[in-house]
Symmetry: C2
Subunit: 140 residues, 2 copies
């Protein structure tokens, strides 16, 4: 099978609060939206923010939690962008988890959670190439 993820779906308690975080904080533009979902076209896949109750019904679960063991990473072109983006995300409704600092493997990163508690790592990692279309290639 292709090493492929088509969509990353985040459960969202309040869609307009979440939309503000992604549109104002990251500066992203929805490609589609209605009263229960907002889709963003990403680098080779789609990000969906979906009413948590609708996501739970779709995946046939009733026990959805937040603050879970996963994170999404957004890489920026320069070291000094990391704290700037973190600041912008907090201004748009995010909450700081970790201030920008240097992990043992190099580069710079910090963490912000979105208004629903989904964790975002904002990183500068020169080993991972990002092409003009935003496609990211693993590197050491």
């Amino acid at each position: 099978m292709k090493q492929q993820i088509s969509v990353v779906t985040l459960g969202t308690a309040d869609l307009s609060r979440s939309r503000e975080f992604y549109v104002e904080g990251f500066g992203w533009k929805p490609i589609f939206e209605n009263e229960e979902i907002v889709f963003y076209q990403m680098n080779g896949f789609v990000l969906g923010t979906f009413a948590t109750s609708a996501l739970a019904a779709d995946m046939n679960r009733t026990d959805l939690t937040t603050r879970s063991a996963f994170a999404l990473g957004h890489n920026v072109p320069a070291r000094e962008d990391v704290p700037l983006v973190i600041e912008q995300l907090i201004a748009a409704g995010g909450r700081l988890l970790r201030k920008a600092d240097s992990p043992p493997h190099g580069g710079v990163r910090g963490y912000v959670e979105d208004p629903d508690g989904h964790a975002w790592e904002i990183a500068w990692n020169p080993a991972w190439a990002i092409d003009d279309d935003g496609h990211v290639t693993f590197g050491l």
Copy 2:
């Protein structure tokens, strides 16, 4: 900012059990692995399965849960592939959440959780184009 996610990181209690799910179930090949992380090169970004304790320390949280309000989607080329892939994932340590059926918006989908409780939607959705490199474009 680019509409870009560089990495999706999943917290993993038992890395070899998780590796078996992704390698045997999906047939994916790691691009890098050590004793606390396995990376897979995906369609325009990287998937990382990371020891949950290390992820928690990295994101400066102590309260990580599982069975959370998010899902990852893998789209397959044909309707009849959906139940086959679901079966393969279960054989590799996954657990069925929802058998393949047709959602209101069309296509076919089912859900399986990985050994750590992370939800995967397996879907056939002819409206979303997938190119030869696995890059997915939103469509209606």
